[in-house]
Symmetry: C2
Subunit: 133 residues, 2 copies
Protein backbone atom coordinates (compact mmCIF):
# COMPACT_ATOMS: atom_id res chain seq x y z
CA UNK A 1 0.00 0.00 0.00
CA UNK A 2 1.21 3.49 -0.80
CA UNK A 3 -0.23 6.93 -0.12
CA UNK A 4 0.24 9.92 -2.37
CA UNK A 5 -0.53 13.43 -1.10
CA UNK A 6 -0.55 16.61 -3.13
CA UNK A 7 1.99 19.14 -1.85
CA UNK A 8 -0.34 22.05 -2.73
CA UNK A 9 2.28 23.43 -5.08
CA UNK A 10 2.14 22.85 -8.82
CA UNK A 11 2.02 19.14 -9.60
CA UNK A 12 4.25 18.02 -6.75
CA UNK A 13 3.30 15.12 -4.48
CA UNK A 14 4.79 13.17 -1.59
CA UNK A 15 4.50 9.39 -1.64
CA UNK A 16 4.76 7.26 1.50
CA UNK A 17 4.94 3.54 2.03
CA UNK A 18 3.79 1.60 5.08
CA UNK A 19 7.29 1.63 6.59
CA UNK A 20 7.30 5.44 6.55
CA UNK A 21 9.71 6.07 3.65
CA UNK A 22 8.89 9.14 1.62
CA UNK A 23 9.79 10.36 -1.84
CA UNK A 24 8.82 13.42 -3.84
CA UNK A 25 7.00 12.83 -7.12
CA UNK A 26 7.23 15.81 -9.41
CA UNK A 27 7.50 16.84 -13.04
CA UNK A 28 9.23 19.40 -15.27
CA UNK A 29 8.67 23.08 -14.65
CA UNK A 30 7.25 23.46 -18.18
CA UNK A 31 4.71 20.74 -17.32
CA UNK A 32 3.62 22.50 -14.15
CA UNK A 33 5.97 20.91 -11.62
CA UNK A 34 9.04 22.00 -9.69
CA UNK A 35 11.51 19.39 -10.95
CA UNK A 36 12.33 18.33 -7.39
CA UNK A 37 11.78 14.60 -7.75
CA UNK A 38 11.30 11.66 -10.09
CA UNK A 39 8.51 11.79 -12.64
CA UNK A 40 5.92 8.97 -12.66
CA UNK A 41 7.13 7.45 -15.93
CA UNK A 42 10.69 7.36 -14.61
CA UNK A 43 9.48 5.72 -11.39
CA UNK A 44 7.98 2.95 -13.50
CA UNK A 45 11.45 2.28 -14.94
CA UNK A 46 12.98 2.39 -11.44
CA UNK A 47 10.46 -0.21 -10.28
CA UNK A 48 11.35 -2.47 -13.21
CA UNK A 49 15.09 -2.03 -12.71
CA UNK A 50 14.99 -2.46 -8.94
CA UNK A 51 12.98 -5.67 -9.11
CA UNK A 52 15.22 -7.31 -11.69
CA UNK A 53 18.38 -5.95 -10.04
CA UNK A 54 17.46 -7.55 -6.72
CA UNK A 55 16.79 -10.87 -8.42
CA UNK A 56 20.02 -10.93 -10.42
CA UNK A 57 22.29 -9.82 -7.55
CA UNK A 58 20.78 -12.30 -5.10
CA UNK A 59 20.66 -15.28 -7.48
CA UNK A 60 24.16 -14.68 -8.84
CA UNK A 61 25.53 -14.46 -5.29
CA UNK A 62 23.74 -17.71 -4.39
CA UNK A 63 25.50 -19.32 -7.34
CA UNK A 64 28.82 -18.27 -5.79
CA UNK A 65 29.43 -15.15 -7.84
CA UNK A 66 31.41 -12.26 -6.34
CA UNK A 67 29.96 -8.98 -7.57
CA UNK A 68 32.13 -5.86 -7.53
CA UNK A 69 29.69 -3.54 -9.27
CA UNK A 70 26.23 -3.82 -10.76
CA UNK A 71 24.47 -1.23 -12.90
CA UNK A 72 21.29 -1.12 -14.95
CA UNK A 73 20.26 1.60 -17.38
CA UNK A 74 16.65 1.62 -18.57
CA UNK A 75 15.32 3.65 -21.45
CA UNK A 76 11.77 3.91 -22.69
CA UNK A 77 10.38 4.77 -26.11
CA UNK A 78 7.10 6.64 -25.76
CA UNK A 79 4.01 6.78 -27.89
CA UNK A 80 4.00 10.19 -29.65
CA UNK A 81 0.25 10.63 -29.00
CA UNK A 82 -1.77 10.49 -25.77
CA UNK A 83 -1.53 8.36 -23.79
CA UNK A 84 2.26 8.64 -23.98
CA UNK A 85 2.77 5.10 -22.79
CA UNK A 86 5.98 3.18 -23.27
CA UNK A 87 5.93 1.26 -26.52
CA UNK A 88 9.32 -0.28 -25.79
CA UNK A 89 11.55 -0.52 -22.72
CA UNK A 90 15.26 -1.25 -23.18
CA UNK A 91 17.41 -2.65 -20.37
CA UNK A 92 21.22 -2.51 -20.22
CA UNK A 93 22.71 -4.64 -17.48
CA UNK A 94 26.37 -4.39 -16.51
CA UNK A 95 27.79 -6.63 -13.81
CA UNK A 96 31.47 -6.66 -12.89
CA UNK A 97 33.18 -9.16 -10.62
CA UNK A 98 34.22 -12.78 -10.46
CA UNK A 99 31.48 -15.03 -11.74
CA UNK A 100 30.72 -17.34 -14.62
CA UNK A 101 29.03 -15.67 -17.58
CA UNK A 102 26.52 -18.53 -17.79
CA UNK A 103 25.51 -17.90 -14.17
CA UNK A 104 24.79 -14.24 -14.93
CA UNK A 105 22.70 -15.25 -17.94
CA UNK A 106 20.81 -17.83 -15.89
CA UNK A 107 20.19 -15.33 -13.07
CA UNK A 108 18.84 -12.84 -15.58
CA UNK A 109 16.62 -15.47 -17.23
CA UNK A 110 15.20 -16.60 -13.88
CA UNK A 111 14.30 -13.00 -13.06
CA UNK A 112 12.78 -12.30 -16.48
CA UNK A 113 10.81 -15.54 -16.70
CA UNK A 114 10.00 -16.49 -13.10
CA UNK A 115 10.69 -14.04 -10.29
CA UNK A 116 10.44 -10.41 -11.36
CA UNK A 117 7.00 -9.41 -10.12
CA UNK A 118 7.13 -5.90 -11.60
CA UNK A 119 7.99 -7.20 -15.06
CA UNK A 120 5.31 -9.90 -14.77
CA UNK A 121 2.75 -7.23 -13.85
CA UNK A 122 3.71 -5.24 -16.94
CA UNK A 123 3.40 -8.32 -19.13
CA UNK A 124 0.04 -9.43 -17.66
CA UNK A 125 -2.25 -6.45 -17.10
CA UNK A 126 -3.86 -6.60 -13.64
CA UNK A 127 -7.45 -5.74 -12.91
CA UNK A 128 -8.01 -2.15 -11.81
CA UNK A 129 -10.59 -0.82 -9.38
CA UNK A 130 -11.10 2.92 -8.89
CA UNK A 131 -12.93 4.45 -5.96
CA UNK A 132 -13.62 8.17 -5.98
CA UNK A 133 -14.39 9.02 -2.36
CA UNK B 1 16.20 7.14 -18.83
CA UNK B 2 17.08 5.98 -15.35
CA UNK B 3 20.19 4.41 -13.87
CA UNK B 4 20.21 1.92 -11.01
CA UNK B 5 23.42 1.16 -9.15
CA UNK B 6 23.90 -1.52 -6.50
CA UNK B 7 24.99 -0.04 -3.18
CA UNK B 8 27.20 -3.06 -2.45
CA UNK B 9 25.16 -3.81 0.66
CA UNK B 10 22.42 -6.41 0.71
CA UNK B 11 19.84 -5.71 -1.96
CA UNK B 12 20.01 -1.93 -1.75
CA UNK B 13 20.30 0.24 -4.87
CA UNK B 14 20.37 3.92 -5.74
CA UNK B 15 18.31 5.09 -8.71
CA UNK B 16 19.06 8.32 -10.58
CA UNK B 17 17.18 10.17 -13.27
CA UNK B 18 18.64 12.46 -15.93
CA UNK B 19 17.94 15.56 -13.82
CA UNK B 20 20.10 14.15 -11.01
CA UNK B 21 17.40 13.19 -8.51
CA UNK B 22 18.22 10.10 -6.48
CA UNK B 23 16.19 7.64 -4.46
CA UNK B 24 17.07 4.51 -2.56
CA UNK B 25 15.44 1.26 -3.69
CA UNK B 26 15.52 -1.38 -0.99
CA UNK B 27 13.60 -4.26 0.50
CA UNK B 28 12.75 -5.83 3.85
CA UNK B 29 15.54 -7.04 6.09
CA UNK B 30 14.11 -10.59 5.97
CA UNK B 31 14.35 -10.42 2.17
CA UNK B 32 17.99 -9.35 2.25
CA UNK B 33 17.63 -5.58 2.26
CA UNK B 34 18.02 -2.79 4.81
CA UNK B 35 14.49 -1.35 4.70
CA UNK B 36 15.85 2.12 3.92
CA UNK B 37 13.74 2.88 0.86
CA UNK B 38 10.74 1.96 -1.24
CA UNK B 39 10.47 -1.56 -2.61
CA UNK B 40 10.10 -2.03 -6.38
CA UNK B 41 6.48 -3.20 -6.20
CA UNK B 42 5.57 -0.15 -4.11
CA UNK B 43 7.35 2.12 -6.61
CA UNK B 44 5.10 0.71 -9.31
CA UNK B 45 2.08 1.89 -7.29
CA UNK B 46 3.72 5.30 -6.74
CA UNK B 47 4.22 5.65 -10.49
CA UNK B 48 0.56 4.83 -11.10
CA UNK B 49 -0.67 7.18 -8.38
CA UNK B 50 1.63 10.04 -9.36
CA UNK B 51 0.64 9.94 -13.00
CA UNK B 52 -3.10 9.93 -12.33
CA UNK B 53 -2.74 12.46 -9.49
CA UNK B 54 -1.04 14.96 -11.79
CA UNK B 55 -3.74 14.52 -14.41
CA UNK B 56 -6.66 14.93 -12.02
CA UNK B 57 -5.22 17.93 -10.15
CA UNK B 58 -4.28 19.77 -13.33
CA UNK B 59 -7.51 19.02 -15.24
CA UNK B 60 -9.75 19.83 -12.28
CA UNK B 61 -7.95 23.13 -11.77
CA UNK B 62 -8.34 23.95 -15.47
CA UNK B 63 -12.08 23.37 -15.04
CA UNK B 64 -12.06 26.03 -12.31
CA UNK B 65 -11.91 23.73 -9.29
CA UNK B 66 -10.23 24.93 -6.09
CA UNK B 67 -8.45 22.00 -4.45
CA UNK B 68 -7.70 22.13 -0.73
CA UNK B 69 -6.31 18.62 -0.38
CA UNK B 70 -5.80 15.65 -2.64
CA UNK B 71 -4.88 12.13 -1.58
CA UNK B 72 -4.64 8.77 -3.28
CA UNK B 73 -4.17 5.39 -1.60
CA UNK B 74 -3.20 2.45 -3.80
CA UNK B 75 -3.31 -1.17 -2.74
CA UNK B 76 -2.26 -4.20 -4.70
CA UNK B 77 -3.35 -7.83 -4.47
CA UNK B 78 -0.47 -10.12 -5.33
CA UNK B 79 -0.29 -13.52 -6.93
CA UNK B 80 0.50 -16.05 -4.17
CA UNK B 81 3.00 -17.90 -6.41
CA UNK B 82 6.04 -16.63 -8.35
CA UNK B 83 5.99 -14.26 -10.05
CA UNK B 84 4.20 -12.34 -7.30
CA UNK B 85 2.72 -9.88 -9.76
CA UNK B 86 -0.25 -7.69 -8.98
CA UNK B 87 -3.48 -9.42 -9.92
CA UNK B 88 -5.51 -6.37 -8.94
CA UNK B 89 -4.72 -2.75 -8.11
CA UNK B 90 -7.22 -0.71 -6.12
CA UNK B 91 -7.22 3.10 -6.14
CA UNK B 92 -8.88 5.34 -3.55
CA UNK B 93 -9.00 8.98 -4.53
CA UNK B 94 -9.98 11.72 -2.09
CA UNK B 95 -10.18 15.33 -3.21
CA UNK B 96 -11.36 18.11 -0.95
CA UNK B 97 -12.13 21.67 -1.99
CA UNK B 98 -14.60 23.71 -3.98
CA UNK B 99 -15.41 22.00 -7.25
CA UNK B 100 -18.29 20.29 -8.99
CA UNK B 101 -18.45 16.54 -8.45
CA UNK B 102 -19.03 15.98 -12.17
CA UNK B 103 -15.78 17.84 -12.93
CA UNK B 104 -13.83 15.55 -10.61
CA UNK B 105 -15.40 12.50 -12.26
CA UNK B 106 -14.62 13.85 -15.74
CA UNK B 107 -11.00 14.67 -14.73
CA UNK B 108 -10.58 11.15 -13.41
CA UNK B 109 -12.09 9.61 -16.56
CA UNK B 110 -9.84 11.66 -18.85
CA UNK B 111 -6.81 10.44 -16.91
CA UNK B 112 -7.93 6.81 -16.89
CA UNK B 113 -8.97 6.70 -20.52
CA UNK B 114 -6.76 9.21 -22.31
CA UNK B 115 -3.83 10.80 -20.49
CA UNK B 116 -2.33 8.55 -17.83
CA UNK B 117 0.73 7.13 -19.54
CA UNK B 118 1.70 4.84 -16.67
CA UNK B 119 -1.76 3.25 -16.51
CA UNK B 120 -1.81 2.91 -20.32
CA UNK B 121 1.57 1.15 -20.19
CA UNK B 122 0.19 -1.29 -17.62
CA UNK B 123 -2.87 -1.94 -19.77
CA UNK B 124 -0.90 -2.39 -23.01
CA UNK B 125 2.29 -4.36 -22.44
CA UNK B 126 5.27 -2.70 -24.13
CA UNK B 127 7.99 -4.54 -26.00
CA UNK B 128 11.05 -5.35 -23.88
CA UNK B 129 14.67 -5.53 -25.00
CA UNK B 130 17.37 -6.83 -22.66
CA UNK B 131 21.08 -6.29 -23.21
CA UNK B 132 23.53 -8.05 -20.91
CA UNK B 133 26.79 -6.13 -21.34
Amino acid sequence: MITLIWNRKGLQFVASDEAGHQIIVDTDIESGGFNQGFKPMELLLVALAGCMGMDIVSILQKKGGKIDSFKMVLKGEKNPEHPRRYLKIIYEIECKGEYRREDLIRSFELSRDKYCSVLATLKNPPEFEFNLL
